[in-house]
């Protein structure tokens, strides 16, 4: 019976399923970028808010995974590559926005959430140094039990240093979940979790979509420095570099004037000052005070 069902599935499927697949195909073809997002663990109200927040920029489409797979296969032309990311609670997301921009937006929309016993830590869980605000009691022991350095000080329980109580990838114990809950620590980030995006012929992994804005800022600065240096060194004046070139030329003239002791009004005060400085520098090398006038004696 299961065999006949699977045969039937590949050949003919109920009309409502075919309609849903057609709708999904329309959805996939309606956007320049289509991705798979994980929606596991997102309370439905939060999910609704997120969908609303994306309105006008991206659309989330939930369906049965089997139908999504079928739709992706039907569209073909590369989209079927997304199939390998379809597992568990996932949804399609479509946008005409830049996929990098989509990733950024989804990351920003993530919110912290408590972690439950039995879940895997998505990152190192740290209990920060400080006053817990909890009155002295058995909680000190609970903290110490899970590996935090804690003691009673000034009438309340304090964590004496940042304590990593669980490493990324480890499973959260009942005790730890309780302590975190007591402290109000929410180590998870909940939100639409972008697993992959297919955009105009290219499949992107999330790590490819995570852009380091600081790096780009630094690149801009390097580019500006390069252009400034080239403009000045090649003496191609631009509005931005003309003052530097003028300053450089004036500095050269001054350096030459001082070096050659050219007697003119502009340089004279500095030449006089230089002569004075040289005099003092020489005087400083003279040990015999008899050889020096009073004002130069050390």
């Amino acid at each position: 019976m299961s065999e006949s069902e699977s045969v039937r599935r590949t050949e003919t499927i109920p009309q409502w399923k075919q309609d849903e697949v057609d709708a999904l195909v329309d959805f996939i073809q309606g956007y320049s970028s289509v991705g798979i997002v994980g929606v596991a663990g997102i309370p439905s109200k939060q999910l609704q808010n997120m969908r609303r927040g994306l309105h006008g920029k991206a659309e989330v489409r939930m369906s049965r995974n089997t139908l999504v797979t079928r739709a992706l296969d039907e569209v073909d032309s590369g989209y079927e590559e997304l199939n390998e990311f379809i597992a568990g609670q996932v949804a399609l997301i479509g946008t005409n926005d830049n996929p990098f921009g989509l990733y950024k937006q989804l990351e920003e929309s993530k919110t912290p959430a408590p972690i439950n016993a039995g879940e895997v830590a998505p990152n190192d869980i740290v209990i920060p140094e400080g006053d817990t605000g909890v009155d002295p009691g058995p909680f000190v022991g609970e903290l110490q039990q899970i590996g935090a350095s804690a003691r009673i000080m000034d009438g309340s329980i304090k964590v004496t240093e940042d304590s990593t109580v669980l490493s990324e990838g480890e499973v959260v114990s009942e005790d730890l979940a309780n302590v975190l809950s007591e402290l109000g620590i929410e180590p998870k980030e909940v939100g639409l979790d972008l697993k992959s995006v297919y955009s105009e012929g290219v499949l992107f992994a999330p790590e490819e979509l995570a852009i380091d804005v600081d790096e780009y800022r630094a690149d801009i600065q390097s580019a500006v420095s390069a252009a400034t240096n080239l403009s000045v060194n090649a003496v191609y004046p631009t509005t931005q570099t003309a003052p530097t070139l003028l300053g450089k030329a004036a500095g050269q003239a001054k350096a030459l004037g001082l070096h050659a002791a050219i007697e003119n009004e502009e340089l004279m005060p500095e030449l006089v000052a230089r002569a004075d400085a040289q005099l003092r520098a020489l005087a400083a090398q003279i040990d015999d005070e008899e050889a020096l006038p009073e004002e130069l004696r050390g």
């Binding site: 992107f204 804005v213 690149d219 500006v224 000045v232």
Partner: protein, 69 residues
């Protein structure tokens, strides 16, 4: 670095820094444009205050350009 230079040209001329414009500039320079790099640049620059970055750089040209790729 050519992608960043292209963005800076557009910034100077007041043209929008979008995918089409950057691609056009790079095309004209004979660059074999990678669409994904253009997209990443455009998305990244959305969060960069370009004028500020330029001014910071201009104020300290003594700092030689970092090893740009």
């Amino acid at each position: 670095m050519e992608y960043v230079y292209a963005a800076l040209i557009l910034n100077e001329t007041g043209e929008e820094i979008n995918e089409d414009n950057i691609t056009a500039v790079l095309d004209a320079a004979g660059v074999d444009v990678e669409e994904s790099r253009v997209k990443a640049l455009v998305a990244a620059l959305e969060d960069v205050d370009i004028e500020e970055a330029i001014e910071t750089a201009a104020a300290a040209p003594a700092a030689a350009p970092a090893g740009g790729s």
